[in-house]
Amino acid sequence: MELGYPILSTVIFLPIIGGLLLLLISRANESVIKWGALAVSIVTFVVSLPLFTNFDKTTHLMQFTEGGPHKWIAAWNIHYYVGVDGISVLFVLLSTLITILCILISWNSIKDKVKEFYIALLMIEGSMIGVFCSLDFFLFYIFWEAMLIPMFLLIGVWGGPRRVYSAIKFFLYTLVGSVLMLVGIIVLYKQAQTFNILEMMSRSYPYKLQLMLFWAFFAAFAVKVPMFPVHTWLPDAHTEAPTAGSVILAAILIKMGAYGFLRFSIPMFPDAAKAMMPVMLGLSVVAIIYGGIICLAQTDLKRLIAYSSVSHMGFVTLGIFAFNSQGVEGGILQMINHGIVTGALFLCVGVIYDRTHSRVIADYGGLATPLPVYAGFFLVFTLASIGLPSMNGFIGEFLIILGGFKASKLVGVLAATGVIIGAAYMLWLYQNVFFTEVNDKVKDLKDMNGREILTLLPLLILVFWIGVYPNSFLSFMHVSVSHLLEKVNYGASADMNLAQIFIDLIR
């Protein structure tokens, strides 16, 4: 469906231009800068809404495409070419929404270098959306790497005590992975003579090359996801980043890795991806269980949630590499879910951190007494993270485990134990922070104010919306996912829709 204006370019460049305009505002006018950033992010979100309402769910083709024939760098056959399909559209929307929340949550907690903070945040938004929209591999890489600069600053300048170490670790891990992908991209270009992703996908490559490129791309995507054993940057970065940084990292940035697998590795190198399925499933299961067990030993709020991300992203990659429609759809949905739930949990931690400036679990206790509303919100997100039915986490994890079970019974069983571990550490966390005796340090704290409630409310609504009626989101991806699987399985995939799964379940 076409709109009267270039919606994707607007969504990509509005935040970037908005950020550059903020440069012109005097440093002293902090409130103007804040309101300006908020206005830019809200306008971007509103502009992006037609992607949700006008999306054509009956085709796997790219929609809202722009700039196909216009060459950007003629000598290398590079175009400015953007578009979305059922796999990427939800991430664009998630990015525009999360940015608003990040600005809201940082309203009072960022006091130093305010101007630079909001500029960095808007730059990140623009490049994140660019990553999800790019249909030219070179363009994709530009956005993918360009995001590193503001993210590095976000962690390093406004982060916690060990921020410099974490920021450098984050940067170097990601950069090493990315440059290996860069070599892969160029090798692919030499074969395909184009950077157009759709054209690249329509070709088939010799098996040996596929295998080589699969691992080159793996280097970049696995670091971003992050998969075991290259996950070690994530706990540090998550923990030390300011709240907004943690939220963006958890909600969107690490989704880019899994998105990369879906968009590039699997459709371009289907044979290699199939051959590597046992390895990928194995690494996913290790991440699920290992991440979960490590969570049990954490004493730091943010670190615990960070390791739970490792575990949850293990579910995502498990679903994707199960190569059946339940697994892949569950994987994509779980990415959205994880973005919402973990994003919300980090926002929650930010709320309490602003009051106490402590992330140590032992410093809390009985928080439900002075902050009942806050405890309510936190409870919902905790339960969603565990995967309680009627909440979004359940749908995603259920589909993934189902898909995993179909791919391999052992994997399905092991993944299911991950859910149990997840329940254990999340409930333990909730009990220690909110129940038990009221800690003296927290008894005088004030409950959430209107701004904070407003920040968490959209995510609360989404938790139940996806939990109760997931089809309004799953319907976006059906056609795209089955097209993707056709490519991998040569049309031999047994497609089932969600209704059938539930019918099977009831029997």
Binding site: A74, A75, V164, I168, F171, V179, V183, V187, K190
Partner: protein
């Protein structure tokens, strides 16, 4: 008697004349900044002559193909790099030399003569002309390195540079003389056919000669293991001269490398790539890894410039038109980002603070956000992160090397490129993430600001709209 056509060499003639005029006027003009301005006019004059200068000159009577001086697109591209480098170096010098109390008119004249040498190198069609240009360039730069007469470090730099430079010149001459003994010519274009002949091609003397030529050029571009002079000289020389040296002679070295290796020795490619590949890898390794351990920013940038020579060398190793175009594009963007970084270094040099220790950058973002932001852009560009020109430059290099079939070499070099992020990031960390101990007094001047604006705009332009630059580089790399 037939007089040779002087048209092609007019830019050099005009520019050397301008350099001499500047030298003379130094005696009468008291305001030395005006002399810097005159030098800039000299550039404009040479640029004016460059427009119509395409052609070849000094044909020998026996063989009309045997020209000694070639003015083609390839050399013109390099001359533009030299002019950019000279122009920016003059801009960043004015205030700095005053602080160092070394603002003398000869300085500009020497810069111009050195640039003339580079121009002759880029245009040389004969190894003897090449040598003349190289010596003119080198002699002027030796003096420039020691321009702060009362500073022992500066003197040490000059002596070191001179001694090692003299060695490398001798080694080059020796290599050229062997080549002459084998083929009976020193003409770059005629050598191509003669080297391909069976008896010459299989002679071990040719290998010896090529090794010597590589050693000499390796010295000029500061490639490992011939880089030992670079850190000391870069640290000791006046910072503006360091900026000048880190771009100009390097670009000139690559200009002649491109011509000699890809034209004269094109039939000997297998052999010289076997030597150049380890040299390039070692250069990237030494440059990027040793830079991590530096605490002085000039030394750090010296090692970084060594590393960048390694990347540019990949373009020669690729041995294709694409490789050549990539190398030229890379050197152009390198000129902007490196001089830009040095401009910031110079900005920190005030009457009280020396400003070349890494710790001087601590908390710069707080006291001077604009300078810090510019340094940030240059650092990320040197690392090769989009959307800066440094990324496009590296990308083109990697593309050409992969296109030539060296995928493994591309992997090695991207890994070194990632390592380099560590020490460039350290500057960013210091500027943005550490608290300030003392507020540095920045020495601002309109000329310095102008150079910063130009380099910033060009680094970003070459990153966002690289098409124009790439197209030019592609067209002028047609010498093959």
């Amino acid at each position: 008697m037939q007089y040779p056509d002087l048209g092609p060499i007019m830019p050099e003639i005009a520019f050397i004349a301008a350099a001499l005029v500047v030298l003379m006027l130094e005696l009468v003009i008291k305001r030395k900044e005006a002399i810097g301005f005159l030098a800039i006019i000299g550039i404009a004059v040479a640029m004016f002559y460059m427009k119509g200068s395409f052609g070849a000159t000094f044909q020998s009577a026996s063989n009309p193909q045997e020209f000694m001086f070639v003015s083609d697109g390839y050399s013109a591209f390099f001359k533009v790099i030299f002019f950019v480098n000279l122009f920016m170096s003059i801009l960043i010098s004015l205030k700095y030399l005053k602080i160092e109390d070394s603002l003398k008119g000869e300085y500009f004249s020497l810069l111009m003569l050195s640039t003339s040498g580079m121009m002759i190198m880029a245009s040389s069609g004969d190894l003897i002309v090449l040598y003349l240009g190289l010596e003119l360039m080198a002699m002027s730069t030796y003096i420039l390195a020691g321009f702060m007469r009362n500073n022992t470090r500066s003197n040490e730099a000059a002596i070191k540079y001179f001694l090692l430079g003299a060695f490398s010149s001798a080694i080059l001459l020796y290599g050229v003389s062997i080549l002459y003994g084998l083929t009976g010519t020193t003409n770059i274009y005629r050598l191509a056919g003669l080297v391909a002949a069976e008896d010459v091609h299989s002679s071990p003397a040719l290998l010896l000669s090529v090794v010597m030529i590589i050693v000499a050029f390796g010295y000029k571009v500061a490639a490992a293991p011939f880089h030992m002079w670079a850190p000391d000289v870069y640290e000791g020389a006046p910072t503006s001269v360091t900026a000048f040296m880190s771009v100009g002679p390097k670009a000139a070295g690559f200009a002649v490398m491109g011509r000699v290796f890809l034209i004269s020795l094109s039939s000997y490619k297998v052999e010289w790539t076997t030597i150049l590949i380890p040299v390039a890898i070692l250069t990237m390794a030494v440059g990027n890894i040793v830079a991590i351990a530096q605490t002085n920013i000039k030394r750090m940038l010296a090692y970084s410039s060594i590393a960048h020579a390694g990347y540019a060398m990949l373009g020669i190793i690729a041995g294709t038109r694409m490789g050549l175009a990539a190398m030229m594009n890379y050197l152009l963007v390198y000129a902007f980002m490196n001089v830009g970084a040095f401009a910031i270094v110079i900005m920190l040099r005030s009457n009280v603070v020396k400003g070349d220790e890494l710790s001087d950058y601590q908390g710069l973002a707080k006291s001077n956000p604009l300078a810090a932001a510019l340094m940030l852009v240059f650092m990320f560009s040197l690392t090769g992160i989009p959307p800066t020109g440094g990324f496009m430059g590296k990308f083109y290099i990697f593309m050409s090397i992969i296109d030539a079939g060296y995928i493994w070499l591309a992997v090695v070099s991207v890994v070194f490129s990632a390592i380099s992020a560590y020490f460039y990031l350290r500057i960013v960390v210091l500027m943005y993430m550490k608290d300030q101990e003392k507020v540095p007094e920045l020495s601002l001047s309109p000329a310095l600001s102008l150079s910063l604006i130009i380099s910033f705009v060009m680094v970003i332009a070459m990153g966002i709209l690289p098409s124009a630059f790439i197209d030019v580089a592609r067209v002028v790399s047609l010498i093959l």
